[in-house]
């Protein structure tokens, strides 16, 4: 499958929930340590190279991007300068971004659109908070501040539009119900920073967490004293973890060990695939909702790969 070269270091890649051939890629210069950012929207062509549909430049690195679940042309970008920006692909670059929210006081590290309610989205930031936003408001609806260190990701529960989980460098994962004043659950998930978490799409009590301790752990939030499963195999911190939209046990992960791994936590031999195609830290991974088995990854080698599970991402 084809490859796309981005000018900056890749940070995140997401498949469009509306078009099977469209992906968004968040990138940042100098590994996101200092410099500009660029948000790419790419089109996959059946027999040909990946082409750029549009790109938006930002003053600081783009750490994450999330497609709107309600409008096919709308994107939310998490920017390192603490801003959250909304982009509309239907409008020319001069009219974008259509919104820019400045509330987070530190780098915004993740954005996640609500897949159930479809009218709101979450961001999480190195200012230790997560925030809930809607399109029509100039300020956030709520701020969730309990974590004691950077919040690296917050993701909506795929079934319950009011529930989300947040993963933090304070080594915990918290489960929140936006109707409740505080977090409803604190899972001391790892002994090291937790960099990512995701909900199982088929079991709304099951989450996976990824940590600097190189492991991925799968939890049942109803009894989280011990993990359901511990997935070892990455050689460095696991940067992102993502459950398959198609198979209950399947999840994908990417790591600072430069590999992308596929796991089935229900199997004895959980590691079902390892892809070694990146030459720098692999930091972005996504699985297509519309095409089963289609994977996308990006990394600090400035490359975006899209491939079908089981094939070689680098095959021409």
């Amino acid at each position: 499958m084809p490859v796309f070269k981005t000018p900056f270091n890749g940070y995140s890649v997401k498949f469009s929930p509306f078009y099977e051939s469209r992906i968004a890629v968040a990138t940042a210069q100098n590994f996101g340590i200092l410099g500009n950012g660029r948000l790419h929207v790419l089109d996959l062509n059946p027999a040909g190279p990946i082409t750029e549909h549009i790109a938006f430049d930002t003053a600081d690195g783009v750490y994450d991007v999330s497609w709107s679940e309600s409008h096919d042309s709308l994107l939310v970008a998490a920017i390192a300068d603490g801003s959250v920006k909304l982009y509309d692909l239907a409008l020319p670059p001069t009219s974008n971004p259509i919104r820019s929210f400045h509330e987070h006081t530190r780098e915004v590290h993740s954005a996640d659109y609500n897949p159930v309610r479809r009218d709101s989205f979450l961001t999480s930031s190195w200012d230790d908070t997560s925030k809930l936003w809607t399109l029509d408001r100039p300020t956030s609806v709520r701020t969730f501040k309990e974590h004691a260190y950077c919040v690296y990701s917050s993701v909506w529960n795929p079934r319950h539009g009011d529930v989300f989980a947040s993963a933090s460098g304070d080594c915990t994962v918290r489960i929140w119900d936006v109707r409740e004043p505080g977090s409803t659950m604190i899972i001391p998930a790892h002994d090291f920073e937790v960099l990512s978490c995701d909900w199982n799409k088929y079991d709304d009590c099951c989450i996976a967490t990824a940590s600097v301790d190189k492991s991925i752990r799968v939890w049942d939030v109803r009894s989280y004293r011990t993990p359901v499963s511990v997935l070892n195999g990455h050689g460095y911190a696991v940067r992102k973890v993502k459950f398959s939209p198609h198979r209950q046990g399947l999840l994908a992960s990417c790591s600072y060990d430069m590999t992308v791994c596929l796991w089935d936590y229900m199997l004895e031999d959980a590691l079902v695939g390892r892809y070694d195609h990146h030459t720098e830290f692999a930091v972005g991974i996504d699985m297509s909702v519309l095409v089963e088995g289609l994977l996308a990854s990006t990394g600090w080698d400035e490359l975006v790969y899209v491939w079908q599970h089981g094939t070689d991402p680098r095959a021409p």
Partner: protein
């Protein structure tokens, strides 16, 4: 220096209220803000509408925002659920729809915005994004140095190789940039170096930050120092907080106490570790790092968990033991490195020697020994560490082993670096930083060239590497403001952001060209002007500016072509231009045409300006001076014209007169960098070196990037026998220079 000085503002030559047929005047007005036309120009800029008096966004509009009464956290716990739901409901009603309509339609026209106070309110917020939100400018030598440096830092994480503190050329990082680098690299390093000790992480970070001359004392710690305290908080919280009907798991408290026990155990273990290895465990830790490297394969197998658990314990132990100890923030490694960067440690004859450092500082001396003394540290490192590591790395990661990085890294950092460093040390301390910077630059250049990124061939506009104005809501206006304030380097960046956004904006390109011209970069000015001309092939201002810039570059043919083009497209003089001439332009013909034009309209200052430029081309300075003086009678307020006159006078060896002309220019535009520098040149030409120094320093304080001016300053310092200040000049220490040479 001579012809180049003509550019001075390129084409913007105008007096307030000059005739509307003079597009240059319009521009100058827009930029200088000296006439009513300014207001017209600025009002065309979209966001400036927001300041219009007819738009009443009072703060109270906020109250009309649907559901806004629920907006601000912290919400009262008991209201919260319903508030949230209400908020969602109200959002679903008109709010989202209208917001979406607006989204689809683009920014609404002003009248529409007035009808929608909530959106107007929002837009106000949006448009008011203050400039300070953007990171300050990277205003210094090549940003690719920084880029490559950060790269090697990130790469050092792969092998766990200690990262070398490295003297870098001055990068001109602003405080904001430094904070960014400090904070982000602190957080990221804790991800990369997950199984390294806290000391190792701090050492790596300190090496990075010190090399970039970043104050490490403000470095943010990792999550660890606060972790235990936080656990306490959780504990108290979970004890104190009664959550009626909440989903709190009952088992959490017990879970937590289990953890506490675990931590307590670790504490004990840590103490035994300390006993074993001594309190000052850096050396032993280092040994352990090496051990870990050696056993990397084993780690990948099964021992990883054990090792990481050990590391984790040690971290916690450190945290507990060192919470009140400044060790983390001020590790000895940091002290060493920052002392070196401050010059308190000097490198002499391949040895690191303390300048005023007490030798009892055991760690530093230990390090020195390792570094340069009995142990050929670098060699040892190369032989023991790199090769082994590289081999291992190759074994372990066959797919990656052909990555040129392995070779490159070992070559660069282990051998070249050492050799180079040794050489430079041999060449003496004073020139060291520069030499190194050059060498580094060379290396970087090679690298960049190898990557094929060096396409900066002539005539192609080269954008800045990092641009904080990208994504700015209105970079053109920002650029115009900055230009008006005389902040040319920043204006260039803002305007680059504008033309990246709107490549078809000829005004953006033109102004960018002029900014470059005033900033003494005629190549970039020409490239930008050409882009402007692509968009608008008959723009008179652009044609004239191109003519002037090519004159500065001594490219007569090109200059003639554009000046002829100016004549051709001018509504008044177009008839004079004979089409058959265009194919073979000769200086005499063009000059003749302009003389004709000057006779037709003797009151048009522009024609006289072009004539002055043409006479500069033919080096007929007396005639050029006469032309400029005629033009100045018509436009006495044009600062760039005064500068042109001054430069021409200086060329014709009338430096004393030139100073008067420059003074006029500076009276009109006090932050006219180029005129300050030219002033210095004129004084130097008259042998008044002491005097010239002040002017150079003043111009450099406004634009430290002007390499020419630094060279002139150096010459003047030598000629004035001020060798004592040469070092300040070489290190570009403006503070010292300004103190020594006040104007």
């Amino acid at each position: 220096m001579a012809m180049r000085d003509l550019v001075t503002g390129g084409a913007d030559c105008a007096a307030p209220g000059s005739s509307s047929s003079n597009p240059l005047g319009a521009l100058a007005n827009a930029l200088i803000g000296s006439s009513s036309k300014t207001q017209e120009r600025l009002r065309e800029i979209p966001t400036s509408q927001l300041t219009g008096p007819e738009r009443p966004f009072a703060p109270e509009t906020h109250g009309q925002l649907p559901g806004s009464e629920f907006d601000h956290p912290p919400l009262q716990p008991n209201q919260q659920a319903s508030n949230f739901l209400n908020a969602f409901h109200s959002a679903a009603d008109p709010g989202l729809a209208s917001a979406w309509n607006e989204v689809q339609a683009g920014p609404p026209p002003a009248h529409l915005r007035e009808m929608q106070p909530s959106l107007a309110e929002f837009d106000r917020i949006y448009d008011q994004v203050p400039a300070s939100q953007h990171q300050p400018i990277l205003d210094g030598p090549p940003q690719r140095v920084l880029s490559n440096f950060l790269h090697s830092f990130v790469e050092s994480s792969r092998g766990g190789v200690p990262f070398h503190p490295t003297p870098l050329p001055l990068l001109g990082l602003s405080e904001g940039d430094k904070q960014c680098i400090r904070d982000r690299s602190s957080i990221m390093a804790r991800h990369f170096f997950a199984d390294k000790s806290e000391d190792f992480i701090n050492a790596q970070l300190n090496a990075l930050l010190s090399s970039l001359d970043i104050d490490t004392s403000k470095q943010v710690g990792g999550p660890q120092p606060g972790r235990f305290r936080e656990m306490e908080d959780y504990w108290n919280e979970s004890q104190a907080l009664q959550r009626p009907g909440g989903h709190v798991a009952d088992g959490w408290a017990s879970e937590y106490s289990l953890n506490r026990e675990k931590f307590a155990d670790h504490d004990a273990w840590a103490q035994s570790f300390e006993q074993q290895y001594g309190a000052n465990g850096w050396a032993s830790e280092f040994e352990q790092e090496r051990f870990q490297l050696g056993s990397a394969q084993k780690m990948a197998g099964g021992n990883m968990m054990n090792l990481s658990a050990m590391e984790q314990t040690r971290k916690l132990a450190n945290t507990l033991a060192e919470n009140n100890d400044p060790k983390f923030q001020n590790s000895k490694f940091l002290q060493f490195v920052s002392k070196m960067s401050r010059g308190e440690l000097i490198i002499d004859d391949n040895q690191v020697k303390p300048n005023s450092l007490s030798p009892t500082d055991n760690w530093a001396s230990e390090y020195q020994q390792q570094y340069s003394g009995g142990l050929p540290w670098a060699d040892e490192f190369v032989s023991n560490q790199t090769n082994r590591w590289a081999d291992e790395f190759a074994e372990e990661k066959q797919n990656v082993s052909d990555d040129p990085w392995v070779n490159e890294f070992s070559k660069l950092h282990m051998q070249d670096w050492v050799e180079e460093f040794g050489q430079q040390v041999g060449e003496g301390v004073s020139g060291e930083a520069d030499n190194w910077a050059n060498a580094y630059d060379e290396f970087v250049n090679e690298q960049v060239a190898a990557k094929g990124k060096m396409d900066a061939s002539k005539g192609i506009y080269v954008f800045s590497d990092m641009n904080p104005y990208v994504g700015h809501p209105n970079p053109l206006k920002e650029g115009q403001d900055l230009f008006r304030k005389g902040l040319l380097s920043e204006a260039v960046l803002a305007l680059e952001a504008e033309v990246m956004k709107n490549p078809e904006n000829s005004e953006g390109w033109r102004l960018l060209g002029i900014a470059h011209a005033e900033n003494d970069d005629d190549q970039q000015a020409i490239a930008a002007m050409k882009r402007a001309l692509d968009v608008d092939p008959t723009n008179l201002e652009v044609l004239l500016a191109l003519g002037v810039s090519h004159t500065n570059e001594l490219e007569q043919a090109a200059a003639l072509r554009y000046l002829y083009g100016w004549l051709q497209h001018h509504p008044k003089y177009g008839t004079l231009a004979k089409p058959e001439l265009a194919d073979s332009l000769y200086y005499a013909d063009v000059a003749g045409l302009f003389n004709e034009a000057a006779q037709m309209f003797p009151d048009d200052a522009d024609v006289h300006i072009v004539l002055g430029v043409l006479y500069n081309l033919s080096r007929e300075f007396d005639k050029a001076i006469a032309s400029f003086q005629t033009a100045l009678k018509l436009k006495p307020q044009d600062y760039s014209l005064w500068n042109k006159l001054g430069a021409t006078q200086a060329n014709s060896i009338q430096s004393a007169d030139a100073i008067l002309a420059y003074q006029q220019a500076l009276d009109l535009k006090p932050n006219y960098v180029r005129a300050w520098a030219n002033m210095g040149i004129s004084y130097a030409n008259q042998g008044l070196y002491e005097e010239s120094i002040k002017y150079y320093v003043r111009s450099l304080s406004m634009n430290p990037k002007a390499d020419n001016a630094w060279q002139y300053l150096r010459i003047s310092l030598s000629c004035a026998s001020r060798n004592d200040m040469l070092e300040a000049c070489d290190s570009r220490n403006l503070d010292a220079l300004q103190k020594e040479f006040p104007l």
